[in-house]
């Protein structure tokens, strides 16, 4: 928390900002620190859902290494899964997004060469779905991110810890694997502990 606030302060203060503005910024930063300290311990106020699932290894058209992207390169989950904050589905990134980086990065790797082949054919890889809920369950990424990240001022760069509630630690996986049950009892236990809605119609509509 402190780390995040410091970073914000540093950004807001901006070493190159004009003197007067810098002054104003410091007031803002102090106010922000006060606000943050008054809700101290917010990282602990959410209790992650408990329960595990023994997922199957899924064979994907390209063995996408989540670990390299998340852990080594520190890319935010929502950089690629950009629809998560706007829509009920997180979305598989458009192939153009992959190519945006991999036009130049790691072009000698066989997996990237395979991706480039798809791109040149004008096709997206046929990924296999790993995480799913039945059609009668209306799960929405947007609401969960709002509640668990944005409304709490949770540091967005740490969003992977929130994603991990339901998807497991992707930083430790290559191809995604289902490691949480994603069943109703599991959902409800988290809703109960964290004050999520308990109305049937919230999810079954």
């Amino acid at each position: 928390m402190v780390r995040w606030v410091n970073k914000q302060v540093a950004e807001i203060a901006g070493a190159t900002a004009p003197r007067a503005l810098r002054h104003v910024s410091w007031i803002a930063a102090v106010a922000l620190m006060w606000a943050a300290s008054s809700s101290a311990g917010f990282a602990q106020d959410i209790v992650p859902p408990v329960g595990l699932h023994q997922g199957e290894d899924v064979v994907q058209p390209i063995e996408f290494p989540h670990n390299i992207h998340v852990e080594v390169n520190k890319i935010n989950c929502m950089y690629c899964h950009t629809y998560a904050r706007r829509s009920k589905v997180a979305g598989i990134p458009p192939t153009s997004k992959c190519i945006g980086c991999h036009k130049i990065i790691a072009t000698d790797k066989p997996r990237i060469q395979k991706l480039t082949e798809y791109w040149q054919k004008g096709e997206s890889p046929k990924w296999k779905k790993v995480h799913d809920v039945p059609d009668y369950v209306h799960f929405t990424h947007e609401r969960h991110l709002k509640k668990l990240v944005f409304d709490r001022d949770y540091p967005v760069e740490d969003v992977k810890e929130i994603c991990a509630f339901c998807h497991g630690q992707l930083k430790e996986m290559t191809v995604a694997k289902k490691v949480k049950p994603l069943n109703m009892g599991w959902c409800v236990s988290c809703h109960e502990k964290n004050g999520g809605p308990s109305d049937c119609w919230k999810c079954h509509k």
Partner: protein, 736 residues
């Protein structure tokens, strides 16, 4: 025959027997919660406006019946997922019916034709568009040795630019033969309105009426523009002075089920009742000055006693209706298919329209319609007269090439017309079809057309409400099957075969439509807009609203020569082939949602049945669920008897829609088709097939079967599950 199936066989049939294995789970397109089984494909390049999971609604026009309702389709990830009514559309004001909702199942139907097919060695085999096009060029191209008078189009009701294109094609060929066929139509009503009011489709204002007297007009389900009338009806019902509905018919329809007073009438005697009511009204002081002396004489001959004898309705009941008509003004009197479908159908409808004249309803609840500024786009309303004319032309071998679209005559033509025996008198039959229906399976060339959710078009419904509109139909998603083509695309390519100079420039109907829209805008009062603005507005709203100058009603006297049918001792009962909201005329029998949704009166699902009055059944020794034989001069149907009080004892009703011999997995070989045993009787004035005039006899087969229906029972078996209270008690106790 489920009743005779043992449990073990039943489980086996379900694939739950010991040796049965589940297949299909590993198919790449499967939908499952299992990890790693279902494909999920991302965009190659993201579209700026498309967010996966967020739906966008696009406007279009429904084509599930001919009413032309405006719709919105919910589109997500490039798939149309839900259809709702377009609130901007004056016809349906945001509502849809179950047929409109089920349009998705036609679009995603597993039995769609996905490639052209050509008849080779007696069998239909898949071919390519190139080969189909070459064949068409040989048969109907500019260099073909075509005899112009021997080319025809056979379609359902056609309007808008589809009609204009077909007319263009006929012009290009040099033929005038366009047959339009609809089983469910109001052609006799339209003919009477044209003759008496000089208005083919007057506006009906149920919302302004205090009483509706409907002679078999099922305006809430199948008559003319059901969603529009349902909206008006709700205003009629919720008005401070709640409107009353009296329904007179031989078999209870959905509208009849909603009536305050439902009266069973002997089939074919509705005209006599109308004259009897006119007689009562004149005798009770209603001013008959609007009628000519000749008409007044006619009315005078139908006193209530006589009419009671003809119609089988008690005098007290007739007087009760007469009293209500006199007391509750303005009223509106309607005539539906069961009145039209008699040998004297026109005369009976005219007698019913006279009631409107007598009661002063013309101009109050029956208003002049607007004159659409583009007559070439107005609906060519299909009927059964054109089917008869077509079968005659086929019989006399007058046709060389026929294009079929949006009609299935080999299903709907009665066996008496012998169309299936003679269809091969047409040497080259081209069927533009979405499904392998009966007509498509008899084709020489089948051209697969896009579904209405993938295609372009415009629709000008025959019935136009207060605000005239032309519905615009646009694709809500990409074609599911790349090898299907839009109807307009096919006709444009046919036109290019005849006249390359004029039509070769258009690659598809989109180009054609966009072009003609530019020429239309001034005519609909949108001259100030640029071409693109007008086009985009039309697509965004899904319609072009047109200010059409109202016609003027000029009353012309028509003397209704009402006659009643003589009894037929050999065939004592009338066959009522009743249409219903859902399967309609049979076109929706391949949509499982509509098969599954129960008939509104009998509540039967997925099946055919024959409705018979308990007293008639008693006389014939028939019990509920007995398999009976319903036989006319032209054939017999075996069908389960359904005992119901909502039918006249002289009538046997078999609902329309089932009995397909083709038409995909959900429709094929299910139930019976009552149209097949109809006799060739026509309405004397209009030449329409008298669909409700066929007489039948009924006999037992000795077999029994189970009728599957919702609820299974009409009574609560004394358990008062749904409690009711009479209006009097409610008023007295204030609901306490």
């Amino acid at each position: 025959m489920i009743g005779k199936m043992k449990r073990r066989d039943f489980l086996k049939a379900l694939g739950l027997g010991g040796t049965a294995t589940l297949v299909g789970c590993d198919l790449p397109t499967t939908v499952t919660l299992e990890e790693g089984k279902e494909d999920v494909v991302s965009y190659l390049l993201p579209e700026e406006y498309a967010i996966p999971g967020i739906a966008v609604w696009y406007a279009s026009t429904c084509t599930q019946c001919t009413a032309g309702c405006g719709i919105h389709g919910r589109v997500r990830e490039g798939r149309v997922l839900k259809i709702e009514g377009n609130p901007e559309a004056p016809i349906n004001v945001g509502k849809t019916c179950q047929m409109g909702q089920a349009g998705l199942q036609g679009h995603y139907n597993p039995d769609r034709i996905t490639a052209p097919m050509v008849r080779e060695g007696g069998r239909l085999v898949p071919t390519t568009w190139e080969k189909a096009q070459a064949l068409l060029s040989e048969k109907v191209g500019a260099k073909s040795t075509l005899n112009a008078d021997r080319v025809a189009w056979f379609t359902g009701t056609l309007s808008g630019h589809q009609r204009a294109l077909v007319n263009n094609h006929l012009d290009a060929v040099g033929s005038k033969l366009h047959f339009a066929h609809e089983v469910v139509n109001a052609n006799v009503w339209q003919a009477v309105s044209r003759d008496m009011l000089d208005d083919p489709m007057p506006r009906i204002r149920l919302d302004k009426a205090k009483l509706i007297l409907s002679f078999g007009a099922d305006f809430l389900a199948t008559w003319v523009s059901p969603v529009h009338f349902a909206g008006q009806y709700s205003k009629f019902r919720t008005a401070a002075d709640r409107g009353a509905l009296i329904q007179v018919e031989s078999k209870m329809s959905m509208t009849g089920g909603s009536a305050d007073l439902w009266v069973a009438i002997r089939p074919g005697t509705e005209g006599a009742l109308a004259l009897g009511l006119a007689n009562y009204l004149v005798a009770n002081g209603v001013n008959a000055a609007a009628l000519t002396a000749e008409v007044r004489d006619k009315i005078a001959a139908y006193d209530v006693q006589k009419v009671a004898g003809i119609t089988g309705i008690a005098t007290a009941q007739i007087e009760r209706i007469g009293k209500a008509l006199k007391a509750r003004s303005p009223s509106v009197v309607l005539a539906g298919a069961s009145v039209e479908g008699q040998a004297q159908g026109y005369e009976s409808v005219a007698a019913i329209m006279l009631l409107n004249v007598l009661l002063g309803n013309i101009g109050t609840t029956i208003e002049p319609s607007g004159k659409f500024p583009f007559p070439q786009l107005e609906a060519k309303s299909g009927g059964t007269g054109d089917l008869l004319a077509f079968t005659k032309a086929v019989e006399q071998k007058q046709l060389d090439v026929v294009f079929f679209y949006g009609a299935n005559p080999l299903y709907s033509a009665p066996a008496a017309l012998k169309l299936d025996e003679q269809i091969n008198n047409i040497p080259f039959k081209v069927v533009l079809a979405q499904f392998p229906d009966e007509t498509a399976m008899h084709a020489d060339l089948v051209l697969p057309v896009s579904s209405y959710l993938e295609d372009w078009g415009t629709h000008v419904a025959a019935y136009q409400p207060e605000q005239n509109q032309m519905g615009v139909q646009q694709p809500l998603m990409q074609k599911l099957y790349g090898d299907t083509r839009g109807f307009g695309d096919v006709v444009v390519s046919l036109l290019a075969l005849r006249n390359t100079a004029q039509w070769g420039a258009f690659t598809d109907s989109y180009g054609y439509l966009k072009n003609v829209f530019a020429t239309m805008k001034a005519g609909v009062g949108a001259g100030a807009l640029s071409n693109d603005e007008f086009w985009n507005n039309s697509l965004q709203t899904g319609m072009v609203k047109v200010d059409a100058p109202a016609r003027k009603h000029t009353l012309k006297p028509v003397v209704p020569n009402v006659a009643t049918n003589a009894p037929d001792a050999g065939f004592p009962y009338y066959l009522v082939p009743s249409p219903r909201m859902g399967l309609f005329d049979g076109r929706h029998a391949n949509l499982p949602w509509l098969q599954e949704s129960p008939d509104q009166i009998a509540k039967v699902v997925w099946d055919s049945w024959a409705e018979i009055h308990p007293s008639t059944a008693d006389k014939l020794g028939i019990a509920h669920g007995d398999v009976i034989k319903v036989e006319s001069e032209h054939g017999a149907l075996e069908v389960k008897a359904y005992l119901i009080k909502g039918i006249h004892p002289d009538a046997i009703s078999i609902p329309l829609g089932q009995g397909h011999t083709e038409y995909g997995r959900y429709a094929k070989n299910r139930g019976v088709n009552p149209l097949k045993i109809l006799k060739r009787i026509t309405d004397a004035k209009t030449g329409e097939l008298a669909m409700y005039a066929t007489r039948v006899k009924v006999s037992k087969t000795g077999k029994q079967d189970v009728i599957i229906r919702l609820g299974h029972s009409d009574t609560q078996h004394g358990r008062r599950l749904a409690r009711t209270v009479s209006v009097d008690v409610l008023k007295r106790t204030k609901g306490a």
